[in-house]
């Protein structure tokens, strides 16, 4: 019934290059000019080392961050655990965790995926790949310096911005700058006719993050102005850095694997611009009830409600594209993670809008609810996206599939169970805590005691997550550990023709006899 095209023979090749004969053979088979084939091959090969380096660094930070997270969680219900050393005190370990997982794991994994994806979307090689690799290394060094500094007691004092600006800052700034430069140069060298929505999100993220960093690290801030700048940064680094890249990736992986276009491209335009407009004004909802002018807080609450627009637009796109195709999740680990991640995005955003309302905030503010909420976003959404992306991209870089389906299943099961337990226990703990705090008849002690079961539950969830990450890291290791083998092989799908030749364009248009939608 089916007549699969025979994949080209895998001849031994010069490192990083493709044999002309192979290119010619495939080009002839596809009826394309050899130059078109060669460009895509070079595009994928150009990003290979950079992306693998970023993924390796990201996974190292995932493990480090997870261990700090476990330790911080244990210390909340076993407060006398490891208190003798200053560098292990809860207040430093918790900060090191947040720093490691956000600026280490999530940032590096997402940046790596964007560096892989952007050349593909704009149909050119990654420009300045060596600089990008160097930039990634500098960034990772910056993260390390930041973590060590915080553990040693050096702290700039604001949440999400603790890494000392004159110690870690230069590395993060220069490293991030090189990565961004590579990104923009690649975009400038584009050959693609249209800029797919993922490109907007990726470029947006690299424009926005530097702006936010400047605001957050502005040295002369004090008093409540510093609070406004603090939460402007911390909230927007979620929306315009982590979320922007993650949503951009979801817009690619879901349609790509399913083989059907995104549900409504017009909605993606609405989603992007409304996200930019409304998310940017949200930040003060972290300060509801606090000593700031009413107009600022109210603006943020209103903007948080307006967030329904981009969240519904993006949600419709990402979810409706999958509707009717949920069977794909059985076959594609990438989709398992990305689709669930997209659901988590919708959930965390709706939860955020809900939590910004004063009546709800009255109960949830200052409680573990907020921590649970941040993990719905940072883990169930962003980290799941990163896992799904890595599962998709790495085979295409090393030229072979993942070694073990079982390890993938274990990873997925463990982290899904872990994060579900985490969110459920901590949300419950937060509500119990908030209600107890609202009753002035109840001594403070009650609010603490009522959270304990939830804190134990969160620790158990964290242990499951840790196991899942160990499985994942091991699997990544055995996947990439023989560089000689994969360097000799061209990147997976390396001889895909570029879309934009006349023949390819014609082939991509559905024929007049098409029945139903693809």
């Amino acid at each position: 019934m089916s007549s699969p095209l025979t994949p080209p023979p895998e001849a031994p090749l010069r490192t990083g290059a493709l044999a002309d004969a192979e290119i010619d053979a495939v080009a002839a088979a596809r009826g394309l000019a050899p130059e078109d084939v060669a460009i895509r091959a070079r595009a994928d090969a150009s990003s290979r080392r950079t992306v693998l380096a970023l993924y390796a660094l990201a996974i190292v930070w995932l493990l480090i961050g997870t261990i700090f997270g476990d330790l911080a969680s244990f210390k909340l219900h076993w407060p006398d655990l490891l208190t003798q050393q200053a560098w292990l005190t809860f207040g430093r370990v918790r900060t090191a965790h947040l720093h490691a997982v956000n600026y280490g794991w999530a940032s590096l994994a997402l940046i790596g995926t964007c560096l892989w994806l952007l050349p593909r979307l704009v149909h050119t090689e990654l420009q300045g790949a060596r600089f990008a690799t160097f930039g990634a290394t500098l960034w990772a060094i910056g993260v390390a310096i930041g973590a060590v500094a915080v553990l040693a007691g050096y702290n700039d004092g604001m949440e999400w911005l603790e890494a000392p600006r004159y110690m870690a800052g230069p590395f993060l700034v220069v490293g991030g700058g090189l990565l961004g430069l590579s990104m923009f140069r690649t975009a400038a060298a584009r050959r693609a006719e249209h800029l797919y929505v993922s490109v907007w999100y990726i470029l947006g993220a690299f424009i926005w993050f530097p702006m936010l960093y400047v605001v957050g690290k502005w040295p002369t801030l004090s008093g409540v102005e510093s609070a406004a700048a603090n939460w402007f940064f911390a909230h927007n680094v979620l929306g315009f850095w982590l979320t922007a890249m993650s949503v951009g990736l979801a817009y690619y992986f879901i349609p790509k694997v399913l083989g059907r276009p995104i549900y409504s491209y017009a909605l993606s335009v609405v989603g992007f611009w409304s996200l930019a407009m409304f998310y940017s004004l949200n930040g003060m909802h972290h300060l509801v009830g606090g000593p700031l002018p009413t107009w600022m807080i109210t603006t943020s609450i209103v903007a948080s409600i307006f967030m329904f627009i981009p969240v519904v637009a993006t949600g419709i796109n990402l979810h409706m594209t999958v509707v009717g195709r949920f069977g794909a999740l059985r076959y594609s680990p990438t989709l398992r993670f990305v689709v669930l991640g997209a659901v988590a995005y919708t959930a965390v955003s709706l939860q955020g809008s809900f939590t910004a309302l004063r009546e709800v905030n009255r109960i949830t503010h200052f409680t573990h609810w907020t921590v649970a909420h941040s993990h719905v976003g940072g883990y169930a959404f962003v980290s799941f996206l990163a896992f799904g992306a890595i599962y998709y991209v790495v085979p295409r870089l090393v030229g072979h599939e993942w070694p073990s389906a079982r390890l993938i299943r274990w990873h997925f099961g463990l982290v899904l169970a872990g994060i579900t337990l985490y969110i459920a226990s901590l949300t419950w703990a937060g509500v119990a805590q908030g209600l107890a705090l609202l009753d002035p008849q109840l001594p403070f002690q009650v609010s603490v005691e009522r959270t304990l079961p939830g804190l134990y539950g969160r620790s158990l969830g964290g242990v499951l997550l840790t196991l899942g990450h160990l499985v994942f890291a091991y699997h990544f290791w055995i996947m990439v550990r023989r560089p000689a083998a994969w360097r000799a092989r061209p990147p997976f799908h390396e001889v895909q023709p570029i879309l934009y030749t006349a023949e390819a364009e014609a082939a991509s248009r559905p024929s007049a006899r098409e029945v139903g939608a693809a």
């Binding site: 909340l76 200053a86 900060t95 402007f232 972290h286 002018p293 002035p440 005691e449 364009e505």
Partner: protein, 234 residues
């Protein structure tokens, strides 16, 4: 090199359009963020510049500032807040954490703010009023569970030295740990960091009446439960 073709007009026209779109996306993204920064960071900063230090709020002493750095370095902010919300909105005041909501004037000497976002532990903006006893703070920092067995606050023994009784010097600040958790055979002596931290904590008092500038309806009306404007306190 095959030029990319499309149904969208010639190559040259197509590339100009794509350039325009790319630059537009970039410019639009930048402009929106710049607008938000202006509205929520720059404008408030300039408005809040008129906030003056209240006469009842002295600047931190050098030792209190040292203690504030110890507070930051050890991440106290991750469990403790330093803000009182409007009594019409919620029960911070009823709980005895302060007599009024805090206002921007209360934080003029804070660089950076330490408002906090978690109440795993109590709010501290008026702890100097509630617990004006250096030794209480030192015992509590050394071992919170010596004073409150239900507490999940970490202990900070590294801010203290444990000396043999004969090694205790005349200038040492001895901390007598009560009850069964007292360490046997040693004397707990507070290091300068512990004393500085306790000094800082005891400086946290914002009970003076709301300064006139806040009360006299200047442009920055404080929050109320109904979202409307009002002054910060009684």
């Amino acid at each position: 090199m095959t030029a990319p073709a499309s149904g969208d007009g010639g190559d040259r026209g197509g590339r100009v359009d794509v350039m325009a779109r790319g630059a537009l996306v970039g410019l639009g993204a930048f402009a929106i963020m710049a607008g938000a920064i202006t509205l929520l960071v720059i404008v408030p900063a300039t408005m809040l510049r008129q906030v003056k230090a209240p006469p009842d709020l002295p600047p931190y002493t050098a030792r209190q500032l040292e203690g504030r750095q110890v507070y930051i370095a050890n991440g106290c902010i991750y469990c403790h807040s330093q803000q009182i919300r409007d009594p019409a909105f919620t029960t911070d005041v009823d709980r005895g954490w302060g007599s009024r909501a805090t206002v921007p004037e209360d934080y003029v000497h804070d660089r950076p703010h330490l408002l906090g976002t978690m109440r795993t532990g109590p709010d501290l903006i008026n702890v100097g009023q509630r617990l004006p006893d250096m030794d209480w703070h030192l015992i509590h920092l050394y071992d919170p569970r010596a004073l409150a067995e239900w507490s999940i606050m970490p202990a900070y023994p590294y801010l203290f030295a444990r000396k043999r009784p004969q090694d205790v010097g005349p200038g040492d600040h001895v901390v007598k740990i009560p009850g069964p958790r007292a360490p046997a055979g040693v004397v707990v002596v507070a290091k300068p960091e512990a004393i500085a931290l306790a000094d800082y904590l005891m400086s946290l008092k914002r009970q003076y009446p709301v300064p006139d500038s806040a009360r006299a309806g200047h442009r920055m009306a404080m929050q109320r439960a109904d979202g409307g404007a009002g002054d910060g306190g009684r």
